[in-house]
């Protein structure tokens, strides 16, 4: 027990130091315009997409529930946060939190009846839900309706996104390593068996759904205060597909996979802007090929960590967190 604890602390300290170092480097590059505002916006969007991918991965990759309406929660969080800022002049952190909490609430209300469904039916229901959200927003004139909501102050900065992204990843990662996480994974692996073992599968599905929805809401709030404008059409079925692609590509069940894929798949289209038409075709072919030949994605269910390097070198090291 004591030995593992020591290992944890050392590893955490190294990780923390690396994170702080990276932050300082990037921050100064942005401040001095070595990274210009257009590129720094891409970095911010990468952060937002990491939060989205990680939150969806919690529901899909770890708990095995295919939800196709994730963008709906992003829009709920975004609109709520924006209204908090615009109408109630709440400080940024409070607005974001409000967005996340409201999104979590809706996830809960929606999840209660829906999460009893399995596989395909759940997928279609969540898809329908995402569309219902979009239609409701279009019909609410006081949040802009089809015109969208404009004039949102730009409060999202690199610092905010970096901190929140790191926090999100840490929270989700620790959740997965905990008993909650193990229960979720058992639901994914074999729902009937885990029910038979006494695990309340519905409870854990809802927990994953709500937490996933919470972070999607936070991502939405960050997005709203970055683009300064919310358009209900942005958060439709296609956006949910985008997030799904991040998760599938990175590996359902790997947080570091989600981080990698969200980064790559956000950055690449900017570089290949001239080929944007081809991009979606390549993505779709990629998904199909991936499912046929490497359904576990980039990282499978493994995590990239300092231990990965150690594992590859030594024989007698502790194998931590290894999935099958």
């Amino acid at each position: 027990m004591g030995g593992i604890k020591k290992g944890l602390n050392k590893k955490s300290i190294i990780t923390a130091l690396i994170l702080i170092l990276v932050y300082i480097i990037l921050y100064y590059m942005i401040k001095t315009r070595v990274i210009n505002p257009y590129k720094s916006q891409i970095l911010i969007i990468i952060g937002i997409n990491i939060i989205l991918a990680a939150s969806l991965n919690l529901i899909l990759g770890f708990t095995g529930q295919l939800t196709l309406g994730h963008a709906g929660f992003m829009s709920i969080g975004g609109y709520t946060a924006a209204m908090m800022t615009l109408k109630f002049h709440l400080p940024f952190a409070a607005a974001l939190l409000a967005g996340g909490l409201f999104a979590a609430l809706i996830s809960y209300l929606f999840g209660l009846p829906i999460l009893r469904l399995k596989g395909d039916y759940l997928a279609i229901s969540t898809l329908g839900f995402g569309e219902i959200i979009r239609v409701i927003i279009v019909n609410l004139d006081f949040i802009g309706g089809p015109r969208g909501l404009a004039g949102i102050p730009k409060k999202t900065t690199f610092t905010w996104v970096y901190v929140i992204t790191v926090l999100t990843v840490i929270i989700i990662y620790n959740l997965i390593k905990s008993t909650y996480g193990r229960a979720m994974i058992s639901v994914r692996e074999d729902e009937i068996a885990s029910e038979a073992m006494g695990i309340n599968t519905t409870k854990y599905k809802i927990i994953a759904f709500v937490i996933g929805g919470f972070f999607a809401g936070i991502a939405g709030g960050l997005y709203a205060h970055l683009i300064m404008f919310l358009d209900p059409k942005t958060f439709g079925f296609l956006k949910s597909m985008d997030i799904l692609i991040y998760v599938v590509f990175g590996g359902m069940g790997s947080i570091s996979g989600s981080i990698l894929s969200a980064s790559i798949l956000t950055y690449l289209p900017e570089v290949l802007r001239s080929f944007s038409d081809l991009r979606m075709i390549i993505y779709s072919i990629l998904i199909i090929v991936l499912m046929l030949f490497r359904p576990e994605g980039l990282m499978g269910s493994k995590e990239l960590s300092l231990n990965t390097f150690r594992k590859l070198s030594n024989t007698g090291s502790l194998k931590r967190g290894g999935k099958k």
């Binding site: 295919l66 279609i124 079925f237 779709s284 499912m291």
Partner: protein, 294 residues
């Protein structure tokens, strides 16, 4: 006056519904036999419309040959998709299959957008836009044709499924695939045949829609596909007459919602119906309740 209005709206609803029915039948057939929601089905409908479009504009074909060509083309496409993407994954977890289906759907949409451009294309007039009067009720000739063709195809399908050997194989395979195989049925071919039939119907729907609402674009399959799926679930997934009933109901419900409640909410209501049905009576109207065996 109000009753006549109601009748007119009913006719509108039924003709809209016949389109949903055609697409829904394809969904339900495929689901019945391999328990997969073929996400790409709505896009096969779109491909049918495009094949129809080019048959008319480039090949200068008339209505019936166009319809046949579109149905054939869609059938071929359906079979190819099944062989390339679904068959290898038949023993994979459901999520993998579902995501693959989504991938195919995106590929079709974006591929067509890339090849043919994203701009909607105006479908030329293949059938005269005549109007038939029953008193003050107006029915477009095209609406009648749409409804009639749908009915004819459904009857033909019923014939195939219940009166032919292939149909028997289909029914057997959808009931219990493994046992059917043990009994000597070539399930692979049966499944391909099912896909071919379902896709042909979707393709037909595409052409009919292209003629009736003369504007086609690569993304036209998404919404009708989703609504048709709701129709299939409503009627009872896996049950062909259910898909027909579900489709007609969806069309009428949507029309009446737009006419009497609110046009803004018609989409939301469609999806709400889906969710309610799935929660309360997942087997749908005509479906059978199945228990999941451990």
């Amino acid at each position: 006056m109000d009753f006549l209005n109601f009748l007119q709206q009913l006719i509108n609803g039924l003709s809209l519904g016949s389109v949903y029915a055609l697409i829904a039948i394809g969904y339900t057939m495929v689901y019945g036999i391999i328990k997969l929601i073929n996400f790409a089905h709505g896009d096969i409908y779109m491909v049918g419309a495009f094949i129809g479009f080019y048959s008319v504009t480039l090949l200068k074909l008339s209505f019936i040959p166009t319809l046949i060509l579109a149905m054939a083309g869609s059938a071929v496409l359906g079979v190819i998709i099944e062989k390339v993407a679904y068959k290898p994954l038949r023993n994979s977890p459901r999520i993998t299959l579902l995501i693959t289906a989504i991938g195919i759907s995106l590929l079709l949409e974006n591929g067509f957008r890339f090849i043919f451009g994203p701009n909607p294309k105006p479908f030329p007039e293949v059938l005269p836009a005549k109007i038939i009067y029953l008193g003050p009720i107006r029915i477009g000739l095209i609406q009648i044709i749409m409804f009639t063709v749908s009915m004819v195809l459904v009857l033909a399908l019923q014939f195939i499924v219940y009166k032919t050997k292939v149909g028997k194989a289909m029914r057997a395979a959808s009931f219990d695939t493994e046992t059917a195989q043990l009994m000597g049925i070539n399930t692979n071919n049966t499944i391909s045949f099912t896909f071919a039939l379902g896709s042909a119907l979707a393709g037909a729907a595409g052409v009919l829609v292209g003629i009736a609402y003369p504007r086609i674009d690569p993304y036209m399959g998404i919404m009708p596909g989703l609504k048709a799926f709701v129709a299939a679930v409503l009627g009872g997934i896996g049950v062909i007459p259910g898909a027909l009933a579900g489709g007609l109901m969806m069309g009428t419900l949507e029309t009446f919602t737009k006419a009497y409640i609110s046009t803004k909410l018609s989409d939301a209501i469609a999806f709400s119906i889906l969710i309610i049905v799935l929660i309360i009576r997942p087997a749908g109207l005509l479906g059978k309740k199945t228990n999941e065996k451990v």
